[in-house]
Amino acid sequence: MGGDHPSQECKAPSTPGSKKLRSLPLGLYLSGGIVALVFLLGLIAPLIPYDPAAAVDYQRQLAGPSWSHLLGCDGQGRDIALRIVKGTEAFFWPGILAMTIAVIGGAACGACAGYMRGWVGQAVRGLMQLLDTLPRLVFIVLLCTILDPGMYLIATTAGVLFIPTIAAICRRKVETLASEDYILAHIAHGFHPAWILGYHILWLQCRPLLIRQACTVFSYVLFVETALSYLGDYGVQEPWPSWGNMVAQTREGVGFWPWFVPAVMIVVSIAALLAFGNAIARREEAMR
């Protein structure tokens, strides 16, 4: 607040807000470009026909990069580039699912816990505290041991286990904003609390934080999927491709290239997702 209009703050060339805004684009565009590429690969991957049995060709074993195989071939002569593209299928839709569950659930629980007084708020806070104590990866392994392990189960669990983190962020924001004059004015005008919470607080004020957290959840699902596929029991099983089981080829001693490319893809994608979330959040905050 403070009397200054946010748009004036952005336009003025010498304010810290505008300086921050000018320093953002390179990181934002770079990370955004990588995230867009990963999402594009995730969207087109199901459209590409792939037969894992037919892809094996021992004559092309460990072939280097060429025009016909841009990233070379692995120990079984399978095209690494194609497997990288098909590997995005393993985490893309599960990542979207986890992101949706975590953001919607976290925002709703955070809003309830921050806005509602009395036993409802206390109960939601208690439930969030309880969920927060469960170690994520350990609980996912436990679930995979009991139930039929699949990426959608893992993603749903990851999404639910991220709800407390997002709820805590939203709760703090809601508690801070609930006593602001403009919110009190909306209440006095008779706006429905759900509208005030959903639009004026969560959508207008918490959006940068939610985008940042959504990127974190997606990167966590990518990490869990690739890690479990690397371990080889609960993730994607060979011969179906996943970036994780491609890294697991180190165990077969197939040389450097076949595991290095997917390892770089994992690292770059996770770093880009986290950086993109941070950059978007900073940009939105700087524009206020």
Partner: protein, 322 residues
């Protein structure tokens, strides 16, 4: 003083309630197994008498609440039953506790080293300058990779290095070479510790957190007053950073415990993470449930200890409900 004591007592009771709640979730997850729960949780070819014992141990022959009561009472006494596959016939706690101790040492030690390094980094690079931004970006690039990728790359690099420098020249190779190999050497633990420090964005996260805390502290009026008197502020800064450091330690431990599960598996270290994954693969259910409860209890315990120490060091933490 009485208020502080009551607040701490409330925190301890709250922690206990959380443990009961978390163990209830874990127990109900077991009961949610599709079909007959006992068939779902027992490995293939389990004899009927073992199945009956397992049913009694998990209270599956009773209703959900009564069953949980039976299981929780046994678990509170440290009785998670016998291991079925991982260490057949041995008590779960007899296997899990030593493994857990090693894991705790590895995760706790790695986090402590990471905190010291992050504090040093935050103190030497206060932020704001171009140089510190570049250094921060480089640190982000180096340490944001997931733990298993760093572990794999690290193991490959060490193997290659040892091969070129030792093995190929005919020298005696170390007992831990090639990684992963089961051995009694401490080197794989050291490698795992380095991997934990350099992965999952832990270091950069701690650096950012401690730097912002340090900056806020440096700007505070009492530090300005001490400076104005011409006295040294380092001691005051360190003393006032203890609470943020404890908070950072308690809040980041679950992250490190998540990473340690996979890192232990990659380096074949016989810690709780390795035992958990092996037991899970072999459907050794009592072991998996026992370790899950222990991991959860550890997270709660560390948070309680951190709150108690913070309350003891700084009464404002208690006053603010921290």
């Amino acid at each position: 003083m009485k208020r502080i004591f009551l607040a701490l007592l409330r925190r301890i009771l709250g922690g206990f309630a959380l443990l009961l709640g978390a163990s209830f979730i874990i127990y109900m997850t077991v009961r949610a197994a599709p079909g007959d729960a006992i068939d779902a949780i027992s490995p293939m070819g389990t004899p009927p008498e073992v199945k009956a014992q397992l049913m009694a141990e998990f209270g599956l022959d009773r209703g959900p609440l009564a069953g949980y009561g039976v299981w929780a009472l046994r678990s509170l006494c440290g009785d998670f039953g016998d291991s079925l596959v991982f260490a057949p016939g041995e008590r779960v706690m007899a296997v899990a506790l030593p493994a857990f101790g090693r894991t705790l040492l590895l995760a706790g030690g790695a986090l402590l080293v990471c905190l010291c390094f992050a504090l040093l980094w935050a103190a030497c690079n206060p932020g704001g300058s171009r140089r510190s931004q570049l250094l921060g970006a480089s640190l982000y690039g180096v340490t944001s990779a997931p733990s298993f990728v760093i572990a794999v790359a690290f193991a490959q690099a060490v193997n290659e290095l040892v091969y070129r420098l030792v093995d190929a020249r005919g020298f005696v190779t170390p007992s831990w070479y090639p990684i992963p190999i089961a051995c009694s050497s401490m080197m794989p633990y050291l490698f795992a510790g380095i991997t934990l420090i350099l992965s999952d964005g832990l270091l950069i996260d701690l650096v950012n957190y401690l730097r912002s805390e340090l900056q806020a502290l440096r700007r505070s009026p009492f530090i300005a007053a001490i400076r104005a008197k011409g006295a040294r502020v380092t001691g005051h800064l360190l003393k006032n950073m203890v609470v943020p450091i404890l908070s950072a330690y308690a809040s980041r431990l679950p992250v490190v415990l998540g990473g340690v599960v996979i890192v232990e598996y990659v380096f074949t270290l016989d810690g709780a993470g390795y035992v958990l994954l092996e037991a899970s693969k072999n459907r050794d259910f009592p072991m998996v449930v026992g370790l899950s409860v222990l991991f959860t209890a550890l997270v709660i315990l560390v948070n309680i200890i951190s709150d108690v120490v913070k309350g003891w060091l700084d009464a404002r933490e208690v006053a603010h409900g921290g």
